[in-house]
Each structure stands twice: as structure tokens, then as C-alpha cells.
């Protein structure tokens, strides 16, 4: 179970990558990367391969440089959306990511069809387009040498919506944190629930929170990072209940999206409303962290929390003993 990280993507092990690809479990990260920004690229015209247009300030950006800038516009600091594997690449230490449950197949609990097309077909198309079988991936990782469990929602996979398998994998990420006693870091970006899975999708909110409650009882920290856009059942469940809630600058975060609010209230939202900085000032976020500083911030939090296990204060240990399974022995990224 699990494949050996994204190390090959860092140019360390292209042979391994090829080997994994042959086994059908690897994906071409470059391809994913290219596809992941296509909305921003629409205006880029013929030079689309080398140039990207910023959807906010309309500046044309040179792609290699733009990638170096972690897909943050060099002119206006607009944070472009990032594909899930790229997020792991720019967050985890090189070679440290060990994916888990990479091959968990999608589910179709309602046997849903919409007109002539089945949901199964849509899932297959999304998998082909993103290189991922579902909208969430997770695994063990290190950030500046501190071990953690790291998970990311793939917004490009049916809008990052949470169906049974996204809920299942988020839950398994939490369970991995409980079992290993390693802090959990989740990057969330989602349009909300997966319509095609109906109430099964809705119930993933309760499913993930049931295990998050156990994570709390086990005294394991959870850092939730919300990136643009983050709505609905994801925000209204685990994403908003981090011990530390972080937003990327300018990210739209909330229960209802701006379009829904504008349709209901028939008023335009004022500038900045429902974005990260707005949520920070209204007490919902702990921090708004620009992408280039995210790794440093996460590393600092992990460093502080890592020391807690040696401090032996208060309820932590007692809870751990009474409520969680004995820690699984793992050598992370070793």
C-alpha cells in the first residue's frame, strides 16, 4: 500500500518514476501541472505553453518563472490554484512524501446517471484529466524535517467536491495521524458536496468529524489550510475545525459561495468580502500566510507541537493511553 512519494518529481529518481508508471500507480506530474492552471491560461493565446495570463491583473507571466514563484503572480501577488501533487511538491521535504491509499477506487453509491451520461463516466474523465482517481490524496511527509500526515484536495477533480471516497480518504488521513501520533496537515479547496452522491456525500461531513473528534481525544494537532476556493461541506466540517486555521491570501472561503449569496440577496458583495483577510478579521482564521512563507510557518508549528510529546503535561498522555490505539511504528520518509 502506498507508493514512494513524489521524490522522482524532484528529479531524484526518474527511473523509479518510470517503474512506478509501468505498474500503473505513478502519474505524470508535469501533465497534471499543465492542466491545473488551464482556467488562468485561457487568455494566454498561442504562447500558452510558455506564457500564463494572470486572471486578476491580466499580466502575462513567463511560465518557468511563474513556477519558480510557486504560481503567485509576480505583479499583483494573486495566488493561482495549485494542483494537488504540486502542492505536495512545494510543501513537503524532497522525497519525503509517502502516499497512502493512492489506488482507492471511486464509488457510485446512488448508481447515478445524469441524462445520457453516467457518473461513472464522469469519474473516469476526471481521473484522466487530473491523473488522480479521486479528489483527495494523502500520505506521510516531512516538512523541514518534522514528520506529519499531509493531505490535499484536488480542486480540479469535479470541483474538489467531497463524495464518499474523498470523505473516506480524509478520514483515513485522520486515522493515520491517530495511529502514528503525527500532526495532521490538510490543504482544502472545494466547491462543496458531490451532487452525484446525494446524501451519502452530505454524510461525509459527519464521517470526517467523527474521526476528528477521536484525533482531538488523542491530543494530536490538526492544521487546516484553506485555499481558493473553499466552500460548503468541506468548510463546514473538518476544514474549519483546525487547531490552527490558515488561509492563503485572497482565497474565497465560506459556507455559501459569493454567487449563491448574490443570487439570494440580490446584492453584489463588497470587495474582499468572504476572502481570507475578511475571515481573519472576523475571527475565523488564525493566519493568512502567503504561499512562499507557508512551508516556514508549517515547519514552525510542527516544531512547537513536536516538543509536546516530550513535555508530559496534563491530559495529553492520559487521553492517548485511554482512547487511541497504540502508536503504529513508522519510519517516515526514511
Amino acid at each position: 500500500m502506498g507508493r514512494k512519494g513524489l521524490g522522482w518529481y524532484h528529479g531524484e529518481s526518474r527511473a523509479a518514476s518510470a517503474a512506478l508508471s509501468q505498474k500503473g500507480v505513478g502519474r505524470n506530474m508535469r501533465d497534471i501541472l499543465r492542466r491545473s492552471h488551464r482556467e488562468d491560461e485561457r487568455d494566454a493565446g498561442a504562447g500558452g505553453d510558455l506564457w500564463v495570463r494572470c486572471s486578476k491583473c491580466k499580466e502575462l507571466l513567463y511560465r518557468p518563472e511563474h513556477e519558480q514563484n510557486l504560481w503567485v503572480c509576480s505583479k499583483c501577488k494573486h495566488h493561482f490554484r495549485v494542483a494537488a501533487p504540486d502542492r505536495i511538491h512545494i510543501t513537503a521535504d524532497p522525497g519525503s512524501f509517502e502516499e497512502r491509499d493512492a489506488d482507492l477506487p471511486p464509488m457510485d453509491p446512488l448508481h447515478f446517471r445524469s441524462g445520457v451520461r453516467t457518473y461513472r463516466e464522469k469519474l473516469e474523465q476526471s481521473a484522466a484529466a487530473t491523473g488522480s482517481p479521486e479528489a483527495f490524496l494523502y500520505g506521510l511527509a516531512r516538512i523541514d524535517d518534522s514528520p506529519c500526515v499531509l493531505g490535499v484536495i484536488e480542486i480540479e477533480f469535479i470541483g474538489g467536491s467531497m463524495g464518499a471516497i474523498v470523505g473516506e480518504k480524509v478520514t483515513r488521513a485522520i486515522e493515520t495521524s491517530i495511529a502514528t501520533n503525527l500532526p495532521l496537515i490538510l490543504f482544502s479547496s472545494s466547491g462543496g458536496a458531490r451532487m452525484q452522491e446525494g446524501v451519502v456525500s452530505l454524510m461525509q461531513m459527519a464521517k470526517t468529524l467523527a474521526r476528528l473528534d477521536d484525533l482531538g481525544a488523542a491530543s494530536v494537532p490538526f492544521v487546516s489550510v484553506m485555499t481558493d476556493p473553499c466552500y460548503g461541506g468541506v468548510t463546514a466540517s473538518f476544514a474549519m475545525l483546525g487547531d490552527v486555521n490558515i488561509g492563503e491570501p485572497g482565497a474565497f472561503i465560506g459556507f455559501a459561495g459569493p454567487r449563491v449569496i448574490e443570487q439570494t440577496t440580490r446584492e453584489r458583495l463588497p470587495p474582499g468580502a468572504a476572502q481570507s483577510e475578511f475571515l481573519l478579521s472576523h475571527g475565523m482564521l488564525d493566519l493568512v500566510v502567503p504561499r512562499p512563507e507557508m512551508r516556514t510557518m508549517l515547519a514552525r508549528l510542527l516544531r512547537i507541537y513536536a516538543a509536546r510529546s516530550t513535555a508530559a503535561y496534563g491530559s495529553g498522555e492520559a487521553f492517548l493511553e485511554s482512547r487511541s490505539a497504540p502508536p503504529e511504528k513508522v519510519a517516515v520518509g526514511a
Binding site: 453509491p109 452530505l202 461531513m205 473528534d213 474549519m240 465560506g254 459556507f255 449563491v260
Partner: protein, 308 residues
């Protein structure tokens, strides 16, 4: 509020009324009434999902305060979230049900413009969920079982609601329900709309009234998202499995509670009596359960929804 497909029944209603006006003792009345009952029963035996949506949203359907009036011998509505305000779309308080004290919490809709404005059409703001959380804690402290009645189009989508953390409030309410150290029962009595419903619906027992619905998004919203056409709501209702029988089949809902013939909106007292019996039976099932077992089972139940 007339349901189009109840036409045959309304026609008989008219006939009976006409005859009665001439002669209240006319022999034909009885057989016509029997005919009417039979037709109503037939109609309601095979409601389509979209018809169920219409009944679930019927303006005459009993709401929280109606059930409270019919079900409890004592009730005190308490107010406020102790942080910001008192939401009128979620109400609750301690109550006595057949001698058993419990905490009842639910959505409240209005029937006319004034009461709909007051209760915001049953769409709670964050204060509503935070009031619910406070009442959950109150119940937990005093060892009272919790009964929630769900009937909402969804949480209020507005900028002020976002400002005060609609998502946070819903998430916290679900989390608190999951860890509550008392037995919890939820009954969907009308519209169980999305996260705004789920926030107070995570319970040891989840039941639905016969003609209620539980949805991930309203059929209109789902049709919008799926086909960019809200008018296809009936089609969305048909494929999304939102009725009680479908959700029992999916293993998400534990049981169905029958409604009086022709739906709860025709007989509030009867609907409340059926609800009351069912709630008492569920309470009896949960009585004496060890708290740790209860929480473990509750966690497992939700853990296993959509498990491959």
C-alpha cells in the same frame, strides 16, 4: 396551498360540501367520504419524489412549535447563544415527554409573511447553531436525552452569516453532537436541507417522517449545479434519493415514521401522536446504554457511511 395532483380529492371535497349544504344527513355523504379517503390513501401510497418534496414543504405541515404543543406536558423555550444573538430559525428548550425530561431543538418555519420573516423561512444563522450547541451542552450536563426535529431549506446564505462564521458554526454543531454524552434522536419532519439540516441531525437514531426529504442540496440547486437549469428540479428529485424509503435502503436513515392519511398537514394532532410514539420507542431502545458504547456506536455509524 393546493397541490395540483390532489385534484381528484379536492373534487370529491367539493361534491361532499355541496351535498352537505343541501342536506347534512344525505346518505351519499358517507360513501363519498369513504371514496375520498380511499383516493387520498391511494395517492399518498405512491407519491413521486417530487410530490414528496411538495408535501414536505407544505405550508400547513406541522412545524416544531406545533409538535411541541401536541407532544409535551411541559416545555420552556430558552433563548440565545450567549455570544451574539437569539436566532428564531432554531428554537429549543427542556421539555417533559411522558414524564421523561429531554432537550428538544429544531428548525422553525413561518406560515405567513410576518412569521416567515421572524423565522427567516427556517434558515438559521450562525447564532442558531450556536444556540443549539449551548442546548446540547446543557442537556449533556444534566443528563437529558436530546431530540432534534429537522425542517429547513438550509442554512441562511448571506454575507452577515458568513461574517459570523456559518461554516464554523455548522461544523462545530456536528462535532458537538458526535461527542455528546447523552442519547440523541433526530427526526426529519419536513425539509432536511443540506448542511443546515445536518448540523442538528447527527444522532444515535435518525428517523424520517413518511413524506419528509433529506437532501445534499435542494432539488432546484442540484439541478442548477448538474444541468445549469433549476427548472429540472423534479428530475433531480427523482435521481438523488431524497425520500425516506430510499434513504433507509441506502442505510443512512434508521426508520420511517408514518403520517396520518393524506399527510401530516391534514392532521397535526395525529402526526404528533405518531411522532411521539416513535420517539418514545427510540428513547426506550437507548435507555440504559453505556455512554462510552453510545459514542463509539455513533462514531462507527457515521464512519461507515460510504466506506468502500
Amino acid at each position: 396551498m393546493e397541490l395540483e395532483w390532489e385534484g381528484p380529492v379536492r373534487q370529491l371535497d367539493g361534491e361532499i360540501a355541496n351535498i352537505r349544504r343541501v342536506n347534512p344527513d344525505d346518505d351519499r355523504i358517507k360513501s363519498l367520504e369513504e371514496d375520498r379517503e380511499a383516493r387520498l390513501r391511494d395517492l399518498y401510497q405512491e407519491l413521486s419524489p417530487w410530490q414528496t418534496v411538495q408535501v414536505a414543504r407544505h405550508r400547513d405541515r406541522p412545524y416544531l412549535l406545533d409538535y411541541i404543543k401536541w407532544m409535551f406536558t411541559d416545555f420552556v423555550e430558552v433563548h440565545g447563544d450567549r455570544r451574539f444573538g437569539d436566532d428564531r430559525a432554531i428554537l429549543g428548550g427542556p421539555a417533559l415527554l411522558d414524564g421523561t425530561p429531554l432537550m428538544v431543538i429544531g428548525h422553525q418555519k413561518g406560515r405567513d409573511t410576518a412569521s416567515n420573516l421572524m423565522h427567516n423561512f427556517g434558515m438559521p444563522n450562525p447564532e442558531g447553531y450556536r444556540k443549539a450547541i449551548r442546548l446540547f451542552r446543557h442537556a449533556e450536563k444534566l443528563g437529558l436525552p436530546v431530540l432534534t426535529l429537522v425542517d429547513t431549506p438550509g442554512a441562511n446564505p448571506s454575507l452577515p452569516a458568513e461574517e459570523r462564521g456559518q461554516a464554523q458554526a455548522i461544523a462545530e454543531s456536528i462535532a458537538v453532537m458526535l461527542s455528546l454524552r447523552v442519547p440523541t434522536i433526530c427526526v426529519v419532519t419536513g425539509e432536511g436541507g443540506s448542511g443546515g439540516a445536518l448540523a442538528i441531525a447527527v444522532a444515535d437514531r435518525l428517523a424520517m417522517l413518511q413524506y419528509s426529504i433529506l437532501t445534499v442540496a435542494s432539488p432546484e440547486a442540484a439541478a442548477s449545479i448538474l444541468w445549469r437549469d433549476a427548472s429540472q428540479a423534479p428530475e433531480a428529485a427523482a435521481v438523488m434519493r431524497i425520500t425516506g424509503p430510499e434513504l433507509v435502503e441506502l442505510g443512512i436513515v434508521d426508520s420511517l415514521i408514518p403520517e396520518p392519511p393524506g399527510g401530516a398537514h391534514r392532521d397535526h394532532a395525529g402526526a404528533a401522536r405518531l411522532l411521539r410514539e416513535h420517539v418514545l420507542a427510540m428513547l426506550e431502545e437507548l435507555r440504559g446504554e453505556d455512554v462510552e458504547d453510545l459514542i463509539r456506536k455513533r462514531h462507527d455509524k457515521y464512519r461507515n457511511i460510504g466506506r468502500p
